[in-house]
Symmetry: C2
Subunit: 196 residues, 2 copies
DNA sequence: GTCTATAATCTGATAGAC
DNA sequence: GTCTATCAGATTATAGAC
């Protein structure tokens, strides 16, 4: 197999591992095992664990921005249906669908709360602001609309990180999940193994 | 000094450390140094690093719930001023003021995204749901209102975790922070050392 | 391109003195 | 109550073979 393909394989495994246990908590050995390669080879491919995490962040941000742009492209040609409420819904759906790429949103989230780390923090801030600008400029949201949209996104990330779906039977948890993911709830419960 | 006092001192140092570098990233040696005690003593006081983190979560949740209840108590006796918009504002202010207890909100956030960890995840979910119930039952919010309030809270946590204030001069970052913290911006910028 | 072996470091935890 | 000394284990990274 070519190094390029291995790289992608390792990147995917790393995304899952970092999403579950965070940058420091996930180990290169764990990533290697999931990718079916040796631990030193993981390090060899990316240089350092930090570079691997940065590569995971990079790929996650690319996919996020691409998903948003695709959602916008699907909506733009239409005529009057392009109010911001409609866009909010489309972008929200695109965001929720990123859950299928396991660990992607959570790796981002882990990056976001490591702002004190010199390299990771800088990349995370820049990435967050790229998303902000896309919503503000390309989607045409107002500052308040972007704020509301990002807030919902961060709550979704948190609920995923919490594995709140495992408590779905709890009335409070059920109501919260129903409210936060009105359309994508089955999707989530299946992902989290709470449904057959 | 009595063990009780040391405990509180160490707990405070641990809250800061865990807030900055996360559960796995922060070390007991780091906490010990910040608290002015030896590393083995930190372990002895709490048993294990995990127990220390759980104690930090416990304390953070207690303070959060207490701050919300105090805000509600200050608002309840009034007559007509108690609509949910008013409460939303009061509770939001109470939440933002918790930023003064450094690391508190971020330690919580780190706990929230470690839902896969058996002990930490369970406590984090239960704590989050306690907050949910308080807002729903004691504050009288609707499911949608709680959802919106929590979403804003998670965005605030994320912006703090990102140290977004260090990029305040960036137009997008400035606008985002202005929108997310309309009233508490100076407070934040001073906390983050972006203001004299 | 990929592995095995291993070095170097860090870190949580224990033992035991004072 | 608190420290010093230290161990055992884990983890990133390197060296070098194939």
């Amino acid at each position: 197999m070519k190094a390029e393909d291995r790289r992608e394989l390792v990147l995917r495994a790393a995304t899952r591992a970092f999403g579950e246990r965070g940058y420091v908590g996930a180990t290169t050995a764990e990533v290697a095992k999931a990718a079916g390669v040796s631990q030193p080879y993981v390090v060899r491919l990316f240089g350092t664990k930090e570079a691997l995490f940065l590569a995971v962040l990079e790929r996650a941000l690319e996919r996020l921005l691409a998903a948003f742009r695709a959602a916008l492209a699907g909506a733009s040609p239409a005529d009057a249906a392009c109010d911001t409420a409609e866009l909010h819904g489309r972008l929200g759906t695109a965001y929720a669908e990123l859950l299928a790429d396991r660990g992607l949103l959570l790796s981002l989230m882990h990056g976001f709360i490591l702002g004190s780390d010199p390299a990771i923090g800088a990349r995370a801030r820049a990435g967050f602001l790229e998303v902000y600008r896309l919503l503000r400029e390309e989607a045409g949201f107002s500052a308040e609309e972007v704020h509301g949209f990002l807030a919902e996104g961060m709550l979704l990330n948190t609920l995923i990180g919490l594995r709140m779906a495992v408590d779905y039977e709890d009335p409070a948890a059920g109501e919260l999940l129903d409210t936060a993911l009105p359309t994508k709830l089955d999707f989530l419960l299946r992902l989290e193994g709470q449904r057959p």
